[in-house]
């Protein structure tokens, strides 16, 4: 909410003609600011050195989880002559029309975090969900010794992250033919729904479930609560989630689960560097992420895709990661 207000104020300031002559105006259209991940992403964007030093004017638009709202925000940015747009679409298909409109107006669009089905994107800075799906399933399968019974708790069926993470899950499962998936169902990214689901599965398959593959941390945490409520020992299960939300980091620290951190900061700051480069040809990236991730070279800011690596959260790095959240 505070951010929305900030966005409104910033927009008002930008429309005053005297101010924005030499500073590029960059808009960030994100699908929604209600959940922790996009809050971290937005905070990282505002924390980018180029923003803090006042080299660019940044406005963040809250898409309120509605493809139509995002489309209208694009219209607003086009009307106000923004120089570049960073786009985190709610839907892979619905976002394409917005990108088309911006491209027609000559405004470069850089994708970040979630994909959009468009060939008009200047670049995309995100993480490959297939990889994270593979990594989390691999953790679970390794821990149970590549044999036994597992359950998969899925995201909303049809969302791009669910499709890609499942593809990764299945790739890892294919390497362990002795592992049987005994249940596979959606809990819509929700902890409460996953908890109910897991309670019922534990009843339907007593003493059978060895591993839980949660396609995000919230759902993995719901499964942990269900296991505790059933009076079972969480350490008897191999449990993994994705994203690295704060609660999951705490659970990793407690030894209850594994999580694969999606680096919101690198996705946000990387996208901004690429966006600025597309407006100012002599720009050199200012974020430290390019030195952090040697696997992701800057290459002059012209690559069609930058794949931000995933970081497995371990007992060794969890304290350092938690410290970043304070």
């Amino acid at each position: 909410m505070k951010k929305t207000l900030y966005a409104i104020l910033a927009t008002t300031a930008l429309t005053m003609p005297a101010m924005a002559q030499d500073k590029p105006k960059i808009g960030a259209a994100v699908y929604g600011l209600n959940a922790e991940f996009m809050q971290i992403w937005s905070a990282a964007l505002e924390d980018h050195p180029a923003v803090k030093e006042g080299l660019v004017e940044l406005t963040i638009f809250d898409g309120r989880y509605d493809a139509l709202v995002q489309q209208e925000q694009f219209d607003t940015m086009i009307a106000q002559d923004f120089d570049a747009i960073i786009f985190v679409p709610i839907d892979i298909e619905a976002g394409a029309a917005a990108v088309d409109a911006a491209a027609a107006a000559g405004i470069p669009v850089v994708g970040s975090n979630t994909r959009v089905n468009s060939d008009k994107l200047k670049s995309y800075v995100g993480s490959d969900d297939v990889k994270s799906g593979y990594m989390e399933a691999k953790y679970v399968l390794d821990k149970i010794g590549c044999k036994g019974e597992v359950v998969i708790i899925e995201g909303p069926i049809g969302q791009s992250a669910q499709i890609s993470r499942l593809e990764g899950n299945m790739k890892a499962l294919a390497e362990c033919p002795d592992v049987k998936v005994i249940e596979q169902q959606t809990a819509n990214w929700s902890r409460a729904e996953a908890q109910t689901l897991m309670e019922n599965w534990l009843t339907a398959h007593p003493d059978m479930i060895d591993g839980v593959i949660g396609q995000n941390d919230e759902m993995a945490l719901g499964a942990i609560e269900a296991i505790k409520a059933a009076g079972l020992n969480v350490t008897d299960f191999a449990i993994a989630g994705i994203d690295g939300i704060t609660d999951a980091l705490l659970a990793v620290k407690a030894g209850d689960m594994a999580s694969i951190l999606q680096d919101a900061r690198a996705q946000a700051q990387g996208a901004l560097d690429v966006a600025i480069k597309s407006v100012k040809p002599d720009y050199e990236p200012m974020s430290d992420i390019w030195t952090t991730y040697s696997d992701m070279p800057w290459n002059g800011g012209t690559d069609a895709e930058y794949s931000v690596p995933w970081t497995p959260v371990t007992a060794e790095n969890v304290d350092a990661l938690l410290a970043l959240r304070q």
Binding site: L33, A35, R191, Q195, L197, E199, N200, D247
Partner: protein, 338 residues
Amino acid sequence: MEAKQAVAPGTEGRGAGLKRRLAVYGQKYGILVALVLVCLVLAVVNEYFLTARNITNVLRQTSINGILAVGMTFVILTRGIDLSVGSVVALAGIVAASLATTSSTAGVAGGPYPALLAIAAGLSVGMACGAVSGIVVSRFAVPAFVATLGMLSAARGLTLLYGGGRPVPELTPGFRVIGTGEVAGIPVLVIIFAVVFLIAWWVLSATRFGRHVYAAGGNPHAAVVSGINVRRIRFLVYVISGGLAGLAGMMLAARTGSALPQAGIAYELDAIAAVVIGGTSLAGGVGRVTGTLIGALLISVVNNGLDLMGVESYYQQVIKGVLIVAAVMLDQARHRRE
């Protein structure tokens, strides 16, 4: 029904009374028969359905929606509706959690405070939301649908403002008791639900206030003429519904271990579904909280049974839809007979 007769005593002859009585029993027990049948089928097809653990699970999974539905019953009996309960769940949950967290960033300064204080705060927040809706409905004659739609939006916005949109994790063990505790093997969640249900049942069937709730919904003009303060009744039912939504919100946060600003979205629909399936008429004045209990149980049993059998959750939504419409069709058929 007794309450309705107390205001406008039945004038039918003996035969008509019997027929009506049969219709009422048919409707009252129809839903119970449906619940028993579903349970029987599930017990036959799934060996785990009737285990103590699964029954505990079903009751636990009914508790939160059940408490919302009890509050909703009061409101619907007065011809009202409370669309705001899902948002109040989130607001009360996050306010209470912020007082009962050990997290230094998400908590209120000086915390964590004792669980009872946090719970009192959550209840107060819920009742305050209900009181605002109640005043708007009873004093300003705004339709309940509109007034509580406004609260649905406002309470969700306040939730995001209050917590900056962030979840409140790391709740104290004392606070988590209401979501995860057990007494003699019975989850505290279920005990709270049972107490709420019994109090509501007693209030509606044995107190003057309860009779006035039925009268205010059944025939508001007659109720006013007979000296009942209908405005006050209409106000109080929203306070009850809001307070119970606050309670449910804290139970949800304590159960999942973290209060989320997105919690409770669309919960009002499941609560209304339980009330309607339980035979309470949206036209007001007719219905029982026992019906609501059975309606809430039926929804959970169907979900639980389909989970046990590994049926996709999308079927659960279809079946719930069929149940809601079938229940109202029964209700309409009964009205025509009368």
